[in-house]
Symmetry: none
Subunit: 417 residues, 2 copies
């Protein structure tokens, strides 16, 4: 079963709105075990819409349209498909009654305009619209299945989830659906992750493996088609086992959560608290941790020590480390350790992490852009520090340094550090 | 000139990510006066990618690809286009040098994997990638123009805006281009902004006016088509004059910059410094200010006082304000003022801003979600505070509170406060 999604609307081609419908439908179809091979966007133009239908007809068994079922003259999807298939249009009386009821007492012209929303391609099964007026269409012609859904997401989504999915399940006799596990990694880049699993990726058939990256975090999706979750777990088991054992040092979650969420969860579970001392990341690590609801129990606070004055005053970093002949300077292992110790003491926390580095765009203290030191202090232990050389622009370096600070905390909390 | 956007990536077809690139490129092409007729999404599959190229070739004069230029085996765009056009692949030496430099000292295999990102379709013009490794491609073959851009938005956007647009302008000899001025506003919502200018928006023909909103900031875009910037400025002049005089309290920039950039610019210009004390925003305001290169001269640092202990210890907020019978509590006007004063003193800055509130998801101290107090202290003056009741989810409240704190600083720095 090869599917294509055709979104209809000039506003998409002008970039006025983003095509979130394609994402929603792709995910929904994947969950039904239907492979989407193409997504197409075409404007409100009958000729080009018919050409898009002809192309989709040649390369897909199921075409899911969204958009172009509304009341206005540029809502063309239903008419264009009917014309393409050589079918007529028929009135769906229950929808018409709903429209007449809704506009009762208003102008006859208004009712006339809205009648269009009650029309079906001749022979189509109507799909109920609980959140709007336009009726959906489902039909099969010459072996191709067609689903016509409205454009507004709040009408499209429930229609697809209810009548649309039900029609597909019945019509296609669906059994196997796609099951996926998302594995999240930190402390490793996408290409190094691929290198780690290159043999598995090269040999993949079932389950399939795919890597993808967001700033400072990478994910590996393992997928299989199976009748139910239990069968899927059985089929994915050996691959997951191998991935876990090789990636132990980087694999922090088996679901799509951010590293900050996992760090807050571990701190809360272990009843430990953390404080931060941030220089080049300028509060970014704190902002990440505090996105997590309930982080107040685990994160006591921190200092953004952008100036040397604040490093001395609030973190107690000795003057001799920061300035003067032979001082290691603000961006150094020594200062990273002193910052972490200072934050630990000031906040009275169990752990503290510090970040000091050169985010750019220019070098600082004669040190290169991308040089970053992380410090970690634990109550009753001497502080440690590590050195990183990160690449990218200012924002990229700051994000990567922040994620590496969270990674250092994760290593420590899991006893891998 | 008919254009088609082809986004390449199985993650799009699986609905794992939304195709924001298509929107960005559609808008960018519209601004260049180029009509987008179709958007297509195809997976990481060479055969289907070639078919998509063949179809696009038959209905468009310009094909803009995004995605599939990365280092991994499923990054196929460059190879598929070269194969379709019957051309070879050539190495772009400057990019290769950048890659070798970046991975120097790492494994030979890692460098080998990443070499792919330095390759060009034979004869293509390289497009610089300032935020990543993969080099872009621009070429014309048999009368069709091709642009190959990376998939990650933070690489794709600057490449399109810089080398990509420049290549298109030159290659297509674009004359009347769209000229726009983006006016940025803070401290006012999108609908209130629309109300302020409703007569101008209703009467618009040339120039046109459009409002749009990002979290906590709104923009008004004023556009006209003209041969050059001077003619455009003449045509937009009277409307801009009227907009400026009505929006004086909210209009902070006449270019698309964030409020934090303007605040840092003003601080630097006035040779003043600021410190922060953040509770519910958890470091977000500091992270925003420090995105601005050069912010270190104006922003001395701050305290993320997530716990009452840190509020007392680092900011000197009196115990009596925070806890006990009849205490106003951590979320109060009194505490906001004390936090601002404490930050001013600790950092030795000219100004300090504080934020304390309930970001949710649950109420706190019996105070409702969305209640936020901002404080501002200036050396030698008593601190002031203001109360906000913000709406939205946890993240929305945090972002809006952060932007309001920057707005308060802006009002003070411009003497409008």
């Amino acid at each position: 079963m090869r599917a294509e999604i055709v979104a209809v609307g000039t506003e998409l081609l002008l970039g006025q709105i983003v095509n979130t419908n394609a994402q929603y439908l792709s995910r929904g179809l994947a969950e039904l075990g239907i492979d989407v091979y193409y997504q197409t966007v075409v404007g409100d133009n009958e000729e080009r819409l018919k050409q898009a239908i002809a192309i989709a007809r040649g390369r897909a068994d199921l075409i899911v349209f969204t958009g172009g079922l509304g009341p206005t003259m540029d809502d063309l999807t239903r008419d264009a498909l009917a014309a393409y298939l050589g079918r007529g249009i028929e009135m769906h009386e229950p929808t018409l009654a709903k429209i007449e009821d809704m506009f009762s007492g208003r102008s006859a012209e208004l009712i006339e305009i809205n009648r269009r929303q009650a029309m079906l391609v001749a022979g189509a099964t109507p799909l109920r619209n609980d959140t709007g007026l336009a009726v959906g269409n489902a039909l099969t012609a010459d072996g191709t299945h067609y689903l016509l859904l409205p454009g507004p997401p709040r009408e499209m989504k429930p229609m697809f989830d209810n009548d649309g999915s039900a029609w597909l399940r019945e019509k296609l006799g669906l059994a196997d659906a796609l099951h996926s596990v998302v594995l999240k990694f930190a402390g490793i880049g996408e290409s190094a992750l691929e290198e780690l699993y290159i043999d598995l990726i090269r040999a993949q058939t079932d389950p399939t493996l795919a890597t993808y990256a967001k700033e400072g975090e990478v994910a590996l999706r393992v997928s299989t088609k199976a009748a139910d979750a239990e069968a899927a777990a059985r089929r994915m088991g050996p691959a997951l086992q191998e991935i876990r054992s090789r990636g132990e040092r980087y694999l922090y979650a088996e679901q799509d959560v951010g590293l900050e969420t996992e760090v807050v969860r571990l701190l809360t579970e272990q009843r430990r608290t953390v404080a931060l001392a941030e220089s080049c990341t300028g509060g970014m690590v704190a902002a990440m941790l505090t996105t997590v609801p309930g982080s107040a129990d685990a994160f006591l606070g921190g200092v953004v020590s952008y100036s040397n004055g604040v490093k001395r005053q609030l973190l107690g970093v000795p003057e001799a480390l920061l300035e003067g002949e032979g001082a290691p300077g603000a961006v150094s292992e020594e200062t990273a350790r002193a910052m972490a110790e200072g934050a630990l003491k000031a906040a009275g926390s169990d752990l503290a992490v510090s970040i000091t580095g050169v985010a750019g765009p220019a070098a600082s203290e004669g040190k290169p852009v991308g040089l970053v030191y992380l410090g970690i202090a634990q109550r009753g232990q001497p502080a440690r520090a590590e050195k990183l050389q990160l690449s990218g622009d200012r924002e990229g370096i700051r994000i990567r340094a922040s994620k590496r600070a969270l990674y250092l905390l994760w290593l420590t909390l899991t006893g891998r550090g």
